[in-house]
Subunit: 414 residues, 2 copies
Amino acid sequence: MAENMTEKKAPLEGIRVIDLTRVLSGPFCTMMLGDMGAEVIKVEPAKGDPIREQGTLRDGFSAYYASFNRNKKSVVIDLYSARGRAVLERLISGADVLIDNFRPGVMAKMGFGEARLKALNPRLVTANVNGYGSTGPYVDRPAFDFIAQAMSGLMSVNGAEGTEPMRVAQPITDLVAGLYCAFGVVSALRARDLNGTGQHVESAMINGAISMMAYLASEYFTTGELPARTGNDHPLVAPYGLFRARDGEIAVAPSNDVILKRFLDVLELGHLMEDPRYDTNDKRFARRPELNEMINQAVGRDTQEAWIARLNAAGVPCGKVQNLAEALNDPQTQAQEMVIEVDQPNHGPIRMLGFPVKLSGTPCRLRHPAPELGADTRAVLEASGFDADEIEALAKEGVIGGNWIAVRGSTSSP
Amino acid sequence: MAENMTEKKAPLEGIRVIDLTRVLSGPFCTMMLGDMGAEVIKVEPAKGDPIREQGTLRDGFSAYYASFNRNKKSVVIDLYSARGRAVLERLISGADVLIDNFRPGVMAKMGFGEARLKALNPRLVTANVNGYGSTGPYVDRPAFDFIAQAMSGLMSVNGAEGTEPMRVAQPITDLVAGLYCAFGVVSALRARDLNGTGQHVESAMINGAISMMAYLASEYFTTGELPARTGNDHPLVAPYGLFRARDGEIAVAPSNDVILKRFLDVLELGHLMEDPRYDTNDKRFARRPELNEMINQAVGRDTQEAWIARLNAAGVPCGKVQNLAEALNDPQTQAQEMVIEVDQPNHGPIRMLGFPVKLSGTPCRLRHPAPELGADTRAVLEASGFDADEIEALAKEGVIGGNWIAVRGSTSSP
């Protein structure tokens, strides 16, 4: 805090988040809140968030964990014990936000139902990232990204014509739900600034997935027809998609007639726009194979790089299909600082993705790397008014924990 | 405003957004700001946002337009004319947020560079949704969802093994960039509450797409190996994916050994977890085909519905691969109000997707349907201090416009 006295305050400066989330959707949300300046206190069981063991470990350490838990503190509390829940209650009393990604109802079973939380802390914003929402017939079902993709209709349109419905390779229903939740929490904090009281925010994976259907949904509502799986072809526009240059494919998206004319002009095929066989999108769509063949013949005469330079100069959106290494090493990605290197104490430098939202005045930044398990238990409890005897007693009983216990008295915690 | 005097204020109540965005990424962002209570003033050219002509039209009206422009007002201003830009300048002076999704630099060319905007209105939050960001070698390239998918590495992992890289069917790079932008704008408004000044927010499609790589990126950073395209199979876990019930497929996601044991127990195949051929994930992964065959034989003995009920009861995430109609008519989707019907004046009821973020105290709600082109030009200008003579003169010159002109004096605008 002190370091920033003369600088501008971050958007969430002074906001304390108690974070009970695990694995991906919730931790992605609280990471964004931390990136925006909130103090995020990750409450973990003695075994830690399962994500600490996921992905390829290096020196026993998970880069997956590191990359979704930067800018957080770690506190170990046994929430299965009544005393542990009493510790949590004191943390909640002094917090601004409480987030979990348990199934709806789990918090109430732990003794933290809505009424109790309101009594404890009427200004508290509570948030839950879940699978299906907290009303409706599926409310008690366990959720998972792949299932949300299946049930939301998302898989039904993904993939090539004539093949089976295809999941999206990225865990997008987790991530989109986390992102909606972060938007909801900051909005609720602003409402609290206006109204003086907190409220509950909910973000369901399946709802977020449905919201991604965008114009596919509005088309269905208008026509009653199901969208087809069309792979890399556009369902409504032709030509569009991947074309074969001499040394590989290029992706070209001529989304309207103006841009299509530019594309064909660069290929010296501009006359096709006047040809009565191809002078409307409907006709081109019907003759897509022969049109694509003509375009491939032209594109095949030069390299990817040459076409990409020429087409971009002409204002035609295009690019290479890059693999992940090419994408992450792309000079544009580097210029945008979308790969950052974090010095992880005891584990050396770890690369992770950067900050996708750029704020000019109070940019997201790395304030501290992901925490060792329980590294902040003592400091956070002290700051919440627990005295040394209480902390010692709780630690002896195994109600609280963390690696800090081993080093007590040697070096002081952060 | 008056209607809410006794209610709680919405998160963005009192926030005026000048919205220059077109088509999808930007309008998706400003729709979310409107859903959260902001007054969104959509500035359109005389021809309107191109999205008004996109998708299947009914009575000349686009449901695609309607579903991304609810809770907005429409003002027609010719920004190619100096007088039009002077009108915009006065609107900006009284606004809280200005958003565009032009390429970086276009606003400056129009006379609205950063310094000028700061001089006009130091509390203004400005935001730009763009393709590649405003620094780096590709800053001047035109962008499009398909190209952002290609270049970000997203396509490289999507699709089945042995097939070409596959775009995701949803326009997710547009939508994710819009969602990040909404999160950034609300965060910047909160920073303004703390610091007193506005700042610039930027959200690039390609950066948002890269951020969706999640653990695929952290695995690449750790191992240096490119993720494979694995279609509906999980790249690391087996069994996992689609299995054939008697009447169709079910999606099952046993993401760890505990859940896998539950899954196999329900199938009466629990003994496989003890079998030395299958007792670790690595072994199961290596013998995936034979394992999947045993599971398919068991699953084939009953219906989708029966297995889904049984597996959910046992705590195994599973579900049907639903097409869009099934997904939107699912009782869960209905219970979550993810499909809403909006009475669109002159066009009757229009169905659209609902609100994915649920706030208990100040929920997102439909305050008004998407506007007719220029319906609010007069009212907005009056509220911004333009007098009747000025408005008449601007309208005569064609600097401002809208359907309201035809009905002037007959019925009053909203």
